[in-house]
């Protein structure tokens, strides 16, 4: 039987075409069942999806592309970072804010529905790679996770996988107000120190996340150079820009996780361009070269303009 919209997954058996969808260990497209839909602190949703092939392949900071509804509007998939990766249970999670047409429609999802998910996509940040770049004895080098808004969510699988190896993980997390703050207890459970900042001071430190970052930097002044922290920042571009500026002339090694408007999310269209920092010219592509970049290699929206 043909699928109602002519595009549900199915086997194809003609000789010469592959039996299996994929040549290698690349991303897969799967009809994922919604295991749970929770509205969480900060007004965000966390949706857990049964997608064992993706859960098996994913590394922290990768993302998935989700087809919100079966027909042509919304047309493009929506990219979301992975807030949970559980290969044992075959489950992945996305944590998302309602911002527009697609995410409004996602609010109508129910447990038991299936949605088409494509992933895992992007480079991600492999724990072994993070650890390899640690020059000191494993676990000695401090890790700073800097987050703004929903940018906190994809850092959780990273913290979880680093937890057993790094004894010193600090989460710096900023939001507009106390109400917009997502739950940070998961991070605390895996042993991270969490500092929260709100712009209006309604919770944690008053001001932006760069405030506590400055303090952290100051407190590290001594040991910094001998055992430079590794920082990973995820959040709105202005925040990334500020964090990058603050850490520029320090030995802190900064990775930034970028967002850009995407069509495919798979490297096909060259839509998600981000300017390469000099001396390189041209563009990187967030979905295939990123979303995680060494901060020095990219120009963050407006950065370096007029220079």
């Amino acid at each position: 039987m043909r699928s109602p919209h002519g595009n549900a997954p199915r086997g194809y058996s003609e000789a010469g075409l592959m039996e299996n969808s994929f040549a290698g260990g690349g991303p897969v497209e799967t009809q994922a069942r919604i295991v749970s839909m929770n509205i969480e602190q900060g007004g965000v949703h966390t949706t857990l999806l049964y997608a064992p092939e993706i859960a098996l392949r994913a590394v922290p900071m990768q993302f998935v592309q989700v087809k919100v509804a079966p027909l042509n509007d919304p047309f493009l998939r929506r990219p979301f970072g992975l807030s949970r990766i559980s290969p044992e249970e075959g489950i992945i999670g996305i944590t998302w804010a309602t911002v527009g047409r697609g995410t409004s429609l996602m609010g109508l999802w129910r447990e038991g529905d299936t949605v088409s998910v494509l992933g895992p996509l992007g480079n991600g940040l492999r724990t072994d790679r993070v650890l390899r770049t640690n020059p000191g004895p494993h676990g000695r080098r401090p890790v700073w996770l800097v987050a703004g808004g929903t940018g906190l969510a994809p850092l959780y699988p990273l913290a979880l996988s680093l937890g057993p190896h790094c004894r010193d993980i600090t989460v710096l997390y900023g939001a507009r107000t106390a109400e917009a703050l997502m739950d940070t207890s998961l991070f605390e459970t895996v042993g991270c120190k969490v500092t929260v900042a709100t712009e209006d001071g309604s919770a944690g430190v008053k001001g932006r996340v760069t405030g506590p970052l400055g303090h952290l930097l100051a407190s590290f002044n001594g040991p910094l150079s001998s055992n430079p922290p590794l920082a990973v920042a995820c959040g709105p571009t202005p925040m990334l820009r500020a964090v990058k500026a603050m850490l520029r002339d320090t030995p802190v090694e900064l990775y930034v996780s970028l967002e850009e408007r995407m069509a495919c999310g798979t490297g096909l269209c060259k839509g998600c361009a981000v300017k390469a920092a000099p001396p390189r010219s041209g563009y990187f592509h967030v979905c295939s070269d990123g979303p995680v970049f060494p901060a020095g290699e990219v120009l963050l929206g407006g950065e370096g303009q007029g220079a």
């Binding site: 039987m1 043909r2 699928s3 919209h5 002519g6 595009n7 549900a8 997954p9 199915r10 086997g11 194809y12 003609e14 010469g16 075409l17 592959m18 969808s21 994929f22 040549a23 290698g24 690349g26 991303p27 497209e29 087809k67 042509n72 509007d73 919304p74 047309f75 493009l76 998939r77 088409s116 494509l118 850009e260 408007r261 995407m262 069509a263 495919c264 798979t266 490297g267 096909l268 269209c269 060259k270 839509g271 998600c272 361009a273 981000v274 300017k275 010219s281 041209g282 563009y283 295939s288």
Partner: protein, 304 residues
């Protein structure tokens, strides 16, 4: 046994599905996502004489049942394409169409010369319809005379099958199609994107860095079908129809309108497995309808 194969000016395609230019790069990314052999033929990214960086971001934007793109022909240039990209792509044994774009008639000739020396190219596709570059591009495809000259410029240096790719933004696509054929086109591709734009009501500015972009996807399918239907009745050469394919039904619609092969563009960005699914659905369809050769459907909406 159902036969999905078709022929484009002597090029044998195992099935009528063509990866449209610009959504397939040179195949490297796709090879990680699916099987290049699912396609009857592949058209590589619009390639220019010199490498191009492309346009500033944002470069893509969703619209109702469609999308805008202003990639701006980001590509490594003809030399790299000829030396590295195409030789790699040959291993899959799928006919390769090289989509080329020039700023001047001379550049078009030169592109023809460069690719004449490369083995394994089944056809050159002259893009006289790209809306995203400031010089050349669509300008050539908007009137019959310049389209004719652009086709002729490649024809002089390229002896293999020549495809001219037309824009739906022209006022009279039939006249332009005729001019392309007179200029030497063996095959026509239609359609490229419509010119559109979107405004971000939050920033109150155009969404795309380049302000306007090319509209593609299911939204434009009715325009594309109309173009294929009109042109197929006016010219003798085969047509690669495209614009908004997202299911086997759309493929059938293009074939019935008069296309011999059917391109998949934006649909591949949404679902990289689309060709595989469409092939399976086409087989089922042929089975149910008792169709032995899918290619017999070409033009049946007007052939009577």
């Amino acid at each position: 046994m159902i036969d999905l194969s078709t022929e484009l000016a002597g090029i044998r395609l195992r099935n009528p599905l063509v990866a449209a230019s610009g959504v397939f790069g040179y195949g490297e990314e796709y090879a990680r996502l699916g099987d290049i052999r699912w396609f009857g033929a592949v058209s590589v990214k619009g390639t220019t004489l010199k490498p191009r960086e492309g346009n500033p971001p944002p470069r893509v934007c969703e619209t109702p049942s469609g999308m805008l793109n202003s990639i701006g022909l980001e590509n490594p240039g003809a030399e790299v394409a000829a030396r590295e990209k195409i030789p790699w792509l040959r291993q899959f044994g799928v006919p390769i169409i090289v989509n080329v774009s020039g700023n001047t008639y001379e550049e078009f000739s030169e592109l023809g010369t460069i690719f004449s020396d490369v083995e394994g190219i089944s056809a050159l596709e002259v893009n006289v319809s790209c809306p995203n570059v400031s010089s050349g591009g669509m300008a050539f495809g908007m009137d019959a005379r310049s389209c004719y000259r652009a086709a002729l410029s490649v024809r002089k240096t390229w002896k293999g099958p020549l495809i001219v790719k037309l824009t739906p933004n022209s006022p009279d696509i039939v006249a332009i199609a005729r001019a392309a054929v007179e200029g030497g086109a063996d095959i026509l591709s239609l359609v490229n994107t419509l010119i559109g734009m979107a405004i971000d009501i939050k920033t109150r500015r155009p969404v795309l860095g380049n302000v306007t972009g090319g509209l593609s996807g299911p939204a434009i399918k009715p325009v594309a079908i109309r173009c294929v239907y009109q042109v197929a009745q006016a010219v003798q050469v085969p047509i690669i129809g495209m614009g908004g394919v997202s299911s086997y039904r759309d493929v059938l619609e293009f074939l019935m309108a008069g296309a011999t092969a059917v391109g998949i563009g934006a649909g591949l960005l949404v679902d990289p497995l689309l060709p595989k699914k469409i092939l399976a659905d086409l087989e089922d369809y042929c089975q149910e309808e008792g169709i032995v050769n899918l290619s017999t459907l070409t033009g049946c909406a007007w052939k009577g």
